[in-house]
């Protein structure tokens, strides 16, 4: 009988070793894990750099994805310190799950724009053109904020469009347009801006616009809650807003 018991003890020891092997907070560099909407990829990368410069030694790790994916990951225990979502619903999911530390802080807004191929070869002038049968349209999946907003905008304009694909996040939509696979995609103003010369943007008039509100919440159980709150404070500060404005985001 010695064998099996020894095995069990060995397994227990191993598991114990695994648990204690998780690194404890280094006194030198603080880690902040930021889960952020795909549309924040460029804005947050820059804002994160600026924040890291302005404060104690901190290293930011980003996980960019669709807000709904991120919220699902956090409610299933992903070790995030903050969640910045492209809509209120997905932050509300972690509030409802009692995983938010305090109330979510709105920090930016965004607007929709039609991304088309460089030089607009299909002569797309409005949302109505997206219903044309010769236009290959790509949107984000209706489960992610950008997809939800796109459907709202099309509905406001009274357009029945048949997208050929519902991409997993807004950056995937942008890629399909910049690669030339799709003629048009509904993305954020900030995405068109960050794509630079790879796509052309077509404005959506005010009456068809959908305003995306971006809240950020500190995740309860964050091992760096104080630092996480300082990152939030930085984002809403004039310095943080300046960086976000540079990437096309508007004030909250």
């Amino acid at each position: 009988m010695r064998g099996p018991i020894a095995i069990l003890i060995a397994v227990a020891l191993l598991l114990g070793a695994c648990v204690s092997a998780i690194p404890t907070d280094s006194p030198q560099i603080k880690e902040l894990t930021v889960f952020a909407a795909a549309s924040l990829t460029d804005g947050f990368t820059k804002a994160g750099d600026e924040f890291a410069k302005s404060t104690v030694r901190v290293r930011l790790t980003f996980n960019f994805g669709s807000s709904s994916t991120l919220a699902t990951q956090i409610t299933n225990g992903a070790p995030a310190d903050v969640l910045a979502s492209a809509d209120e619903a997905n932050v509300q999911k972690i509030v409802d799950a009692k995983l938010a530390d305090g109330v979510p802080t709105p920090f930016a807004t965004n607007r929709l724009e039609i991304a088309v191929g460089v030089g607009n070869p299909k002569k797309i002038a409005s949302l109505a053109d997206l219903g044309r049968p010769d236009v290959i349209l790509v949107v984000a999946a209706p489960t992610v904020p950008a997809g939800k907003y796109a459907l709202e905008a099309l509905a406001k304009a009274g357009v029945t469009a048949k997208p050929v694909s519902q991409e997993v996040d807004v950056r995937a939509v942008l890629n399909k347009v910049s690669l030339g696979e799709a003629d048009a995609g509904i993305v954020y103003v900030t995405d068109v801006k960050s794509a630079g010369t790879r796509v052309t943007g077509v404005d959506i008039p005010e009456q068809h616009q959908v305003v995306a509100r971006y809240p950020i919440a500190v995740v309860k159980d964050s091992r760096n809650a104080a630092l996480a709150h300082r990152f939030v404070d930085y984002l809403v500060s004039p310095a943080g807003q300046l960086v976000l404005a540079e990437f096309g985001f508007s004030k909250p």
Partner: protein
């Protein structure tokens, strides 16, 4: 096989190894909505994805059979310069990250791709965002399994039957069709099943190359990914379907799979 008592350390590590594979399955099973299982599987989105996945995976297996069996025969029977290199290139998708495969397909057969452009202008054929595109992506990642399995079968078969047929005056094509093919039928079947299972599970290349649209390109794994955020019960049940199929394939193929590799 002689059974031995393992050293404690080996046994302990092996148990951790087993747990590593079993625990995720337990997690999935524990979260499964057993009470409403049938209801979740018969939702419109589940049915659509199940049907499309069957079509795409079977079509991919068909294409792989038509192209893969001849390829395996060439590899097994014809010595030509650079054979190992060509074989390596055609088996690359087995270990290549599927997303990379999808990107490569996009640059080759996309609308702006090297060959896709010609397909579009000359024949009006566009593969991205179509079911055909999903089949192409699935074939790309799955066919190597068939080719390797069939090649192994060809190498291990008794060639004297072929020689006998040849001495009796049968032509090369007749020998292949009437002697070789029946003899390697078990390998072809095993290869086709493995290929089908891999095609059924394809995600990365499909979402990159073919996109994601219910009923057109949203196969089971894509539906699982999308549903996880809004309808986790559907996602879990679809995952269990894929799990059951994979398990069944491995159990059925156990001996053959181990022999082929």
């Amino acid at each position: 096989m002689r059974s031995e008592r393992p050293p404690v350390l080996l046994a302990a590590l092996a148990i951790v190894g087993v747990a590593f594979f079993i625990l995720p399955l337990v997690g999935l099973l524990a979260r499964a909505p057993w009470g409403t299982a049938l209801g979740e599987l018969t939702t419109a989105e589940a049915i659509t994805a199940l049907r499309l996945s069957l079509v795409v995976s079977l079509a991919a297996t068909g294409v792989a059979l038509v192209l893969g069996v001849p390829l395996a025969w060439i590899y097994a029977r014809v010595a030509f310069p650079g054979r190992d290199v060509v074989r390596a290139l055609t088996t690359l998708p087995m270990i290549l990250p599927p997303v990379v495969g999808g990107v490569a397909l996009l640059f080759a057969f996309g609308r702006r791709g090297l060959f896709g452009q010609a397909l579009d202008t000359w024949f009006g054929i566009r593969l991205p965002f179509t079911t055909a595109g999903a089949v192409l992506a699935a074939t790309f990642v799955a066919m190597p399994f068939l080719v390797l399995t069939v090649e192994a079968g060809l190498r291990s078969m008794d060639r004297r039957y072929e020689d006998a047929a040849r001495t009796l005056g049968a032509g090369r094509w007749l020998v292949f069709r009437r002697v070789t093919l029946p003899l390697i039928a078990p390998s072809v079947f095993a290869g086709a099943v493995l290929c089908w299972a891999r095609a059924l599970g394809e995600f990365g290349a499909t979402i990159t190359f073919a996109g994601n649209l219910p009923g057109t390109t949203q196969t089971l794994p894509l539906a699982v990914y999308i549903a996880l955020e809004t309808r986790p019960e559907v996602a879990i049940m679809l995952s269990l379907v894929l799990l059951a199929v994979s398990l069944a394939v491995l159990v059925v193929m156990r001996d053959r799979y181990l022999r082929a590799f």
